[in-house]
């Protein structure tokens, strides 16, 4: 014992290193392979250490690009995305992405520089209270007070970000902390007495759910992003198949259950399928798994699953009972809970009548649109995308009409292929997120499906495609407008298109060319197909500007304040 104690002392004394080097060591301990970032004054010591460490660093052209890229990376790899930005404006430029990651439970560890400790609070150059600013939009955040605390804080941050209900954790590092010397030592076990997420479900509640399935006639499974975060796809499939329970999905849960499975009735919610929404409206047992009953899913709560006993499985106890009263609350990780459910299965019940009813809805009232030979319909565009990529690509979207069409028509049969900004609805998210996804999964084709509005919010990241020769295909669903805003103005504001029409646009093909990237404008199905096939085989970045029908609307639709059964435009 004594010898080892002496040895430990020696390593401590002989290896004083700077805070910046502790930062690099911390990243290596967490097996971080890439950092998305942007340098600046307060992080100069850290960037100097990065230079020497030769850590892979993706330099985006704006901090917002860095954080969305990290989100895309996290979504497809399951590992926390790592972001580095400087103090003040560098840090505040991250705020949108942090809020986005928080509401969609994406694991991120964000490092921001800060002015030196002795000038904090003096309104120093590039000082912003980023810890105060991000307190309500992070799972947790820290400001490092002593260099020697950094290894512990980093270990805690990675743990907090990627366990329980995942989310962003921010670490603010004052410039002098990155310079100060501290001992390089291993961090012993984590000590977080206030953070113990419940993974295993209460077995009594699991039993109650199995019992409820014995008496139910019309059960439905509503599956969300929690299934994907827990990697519980297999368990979900086994559970649904054993009892033959129909499955509907949230926007963020797409891919958690194969879209081509006979028990899958598609996406529910504002632009969901008729079958999925009627399943939620009519069911007598609603089993929510890793979904948070967001208002875009439920519509008017007075009409939501009113005839149903509600069972809710979620890793976050605060989600249970938040929006809808819950009879069977199960706090636990989706994987563990579904395992427990599969181990304690009751008798197989007969839900045949229910399944037949929903299947009738599905076949008689599928998602539909009016084809037109002369025009490129955006829905058709998504179908072509699916066809050309054989449904195997990673699809990343912005927010708006194109997002809904992608969700509706690019059917996902594999998990972790779908990246979208759900809760926050962040325009400008899709393209940088696709960059992060390609960095995380270089083996898969990655398509950024963006609107002409959203793309113009973060298109400077074309510089990253050029820089890294990343074969991301940008598909611009170009309707020369902020389509979803325009649609709402058409339906609810008597066609007063207030500031939603974008007639003046850059030539996106020339813009791509300016970055040394090949591009093409497509105005019909054939041109789309050809360009996509060429882009996929070229393994080079590509920008495809698709001129789609400008006044096409997303249907079906549930108007605000209406119930799930009051869909409009079901027949296209």
């Amino acid at each position: 014992m004594k010898a080892s104690w002496v040895a430990e002392q020696k390593t401590v004394e002989s290896s004083l290193v700077s805070g910046a080097e502790l930062f690099i060591q911390g990243l290596q301990n967490e097996k971080v392979d890439v950092v998305f970032g942007y340098p600046g004054g307060a992080v100069l010591p850290i960037y100097d250490a990065l230079y020497k460490a030769e850590m892979k660093h993706v330099l985006t052209r704006h901090e917002q690009g860095a954080i969305h890229a990290a989100q895309g990376y996290a979504r497809v790899t399951g590992k926390p995305g790592v972001v580095l930005a400087t103090s003040g404006p560098g840090a505040t430029n991250l705020v949108t992405g942090i809020a986005d990651a928080m509401i969609d439970s994406i694991p991120l560890v964000i490092f921001t520089g800060q002015v030196a400790t002795k000038v904090i609070g003096t309104d120093a150059f590039q000082e912003a209270d980023i810890v105060g600013i991000t307190m309500p939009i992070t799972k947790h955040n820290y400001q490092v007070q002593k260099a020697e605390d950094l290894p512990r804080i980093m270990k805690e941050a990675f743990h907090i970000a990627n366990t329980g209900r995942k989310g962003p954790v921010l670490i603010d590092i004052p410039k002098d902390i990155a310079v100060n010397q501290a001992p390089l030592k291993e961090v012993s076990d984590l000590h977080l007495p206030g953070y113990q997420p419940t993974m295993k479900p209460n077995i009594l509640q699991v039993k109650r759910l199995n019992e409820a399935l014995q008496v139910a006639k019309k059960p439905v499974l509503l599956t969300g992003a929690g299934v994907l975060a827990a990697r519980a796809e297999e368990e979900l499939l086994a559970f649904a198949e054993y009892y033959q329970i129909p499955v509907v999905q949230t926007l963020l849960g797409l891919g958690g259950f194969p879209a081509d499975h006979p028990l899958c009735y598609g996406m529910a919610g504002m632009h969901g399928t008729y079958a999925a929404n009627m399943a939620l409206y009519d069911c007598d047992l609603l089993i929510g798994i890793g979904a948070r009953f967001d208002d875009r899913l439920t519509g008017n709560l007075d009409h939501f699953a009113k005839k149903a006993v509600v069972a809710h499985i979620d890793i976050d106890p605060a989600e249970i009972g938040k929006n809808i009263p819950t009879e069977i609350p199960i706090v636990g990780c989706a994987k563990e809970t579904l395992k427990a459910l599969n181990q304690t299965q009751g008798e197989k019940s007969n839900f045949n009548d229910w399944v037949i009813q929903l299947s009738k809805y599905r076949s008689e009232l599928p998602l539909t649109y009016k084809s037109n030979e002369k025009e490129l319909k955006p829905q058709k565009l998504m179908e072509i995308l699916h066809e050309v990529t054989k449904g195997a690509a990673i699809v990343s979207t912005d927010v708006g009409q194109h997002q809904m069409w992608a969700a509706q028509y690019y059917t996902f049969s594999t998990s972790n292929r779908w990246i979208t900004s759900g809760g926050l609805g962040t325009m400008g998210f899709g393209f940088p997120a696709a960059i992060g996804a390609k960095v995380g999964r270089p083996d898969l084709p990655v398509i950024a499906v963006v609107g002409d509005g959203g793309f113009q919010m973060t298109l400077q990241e074309l510089g990253v495609l050029q820089d890294w020769e990343l074969p991301v295909i940008v598909v611009i669903v170009n309707n020369k407008s902020l389509g979803m805003v325009r649609q709402w103005q058409e339906i609810f504001y008597e066609k007063r298109y207030s500031h939603s029409l974008l007639d003046i646009q850059p030539d996106f093909v020339k813009l791509a060319a300016a970055y040394g990237i090949e591009g093409k404008r497509a105005e019909n199905e054939e041109e789309v197909r050809e360009a996509l096939e060429a882009a996929l085989s070229s393994k080079k970045p590509f920008v495809l500007d698709c001129a789609v029908t400008a006044d096409e609307n997303v249907y079906p639709m549930i108007a605000p304040g209406k119930g799930l059964h009051e869909m409009i435009g079901v027949r296209g």
Partner: protein
């Protein structure tokens, strides 16, 4: 309804900010809040009184607080048998005629006189909020110059009612 919530928190910088920020974000209105050290110097206790619409809101509040990494334990004390106290300092205008009258008045409240000047006296009273309210109302006709109240702090009694008699939450 009024709820008394007690939270045990790590004594770190920013934790109070985190707690009150969360309440603001979720639209809970704090009526009063007290913070102080506990038997463990690394741990502080926050007692807060909030108005909530219904039990579901109260449950949501407790759960959201509990999610914070440096909040260790959260308890809704409202339905528990508890002892709660608040301290108030009250400065009342006096004349030579009313001075002894006020002294008589405050006696049943076990309030004490802390300071006397020619024009006023300063009193200290401790008790539950209703008792403090009652004394203030009694003194109001004399002219109250200043009041400073600490807000409520509370601790559950050593002996509690049986759990079955308590209002159950759907999950805690």
């Amino acid at each position: 309804m009024r709820r008394i919530i007690s939270a045990t928190v790590l004594n770190e910088s920013g934790v109070l900010n985190r707690l009150t920020g969360l309440l603001t974000k979720r639209q809970f209105n704090i009526e009063n809040i007290t913070v102080g050290h506990t038997e463990d110097p690394a741990v502080s206790k926050v007692t807060l009184t909030v108005w909530v619409e219904d039990d579901r809101k109260a449950e949501q509040l407790v759960k959201q607080l509990h999610k914070q990494i440096n909040i260790l334990k959260v308890r809704d004390l409202t339905n528990m048998a508890l002892v709660s106290r608040e301290l108030a300092l009250i400065k009342v205008l006096t004349t030579p005629d009313t001075r002894s009258e006020i002294k008589m008045l405050i006696e049943p409240f076990r309030a004490t006189v802390l300071d006397v000047s020619l024009e006023n006296v300063t009193l200290e009273v401790t008790g539950d909020s209703e008792k403090v309210d009652a004394l203030i109302e009694l003194l109001r006709p004399y002219g109250i110059k200043e009041i400073s109240r600490t807000g409520l702090t509370a601790i559950p009694r050593g002996t509690q009612k049986k759990v079955l008699e308590l209002h159950p939450y759907s999950i805690m």
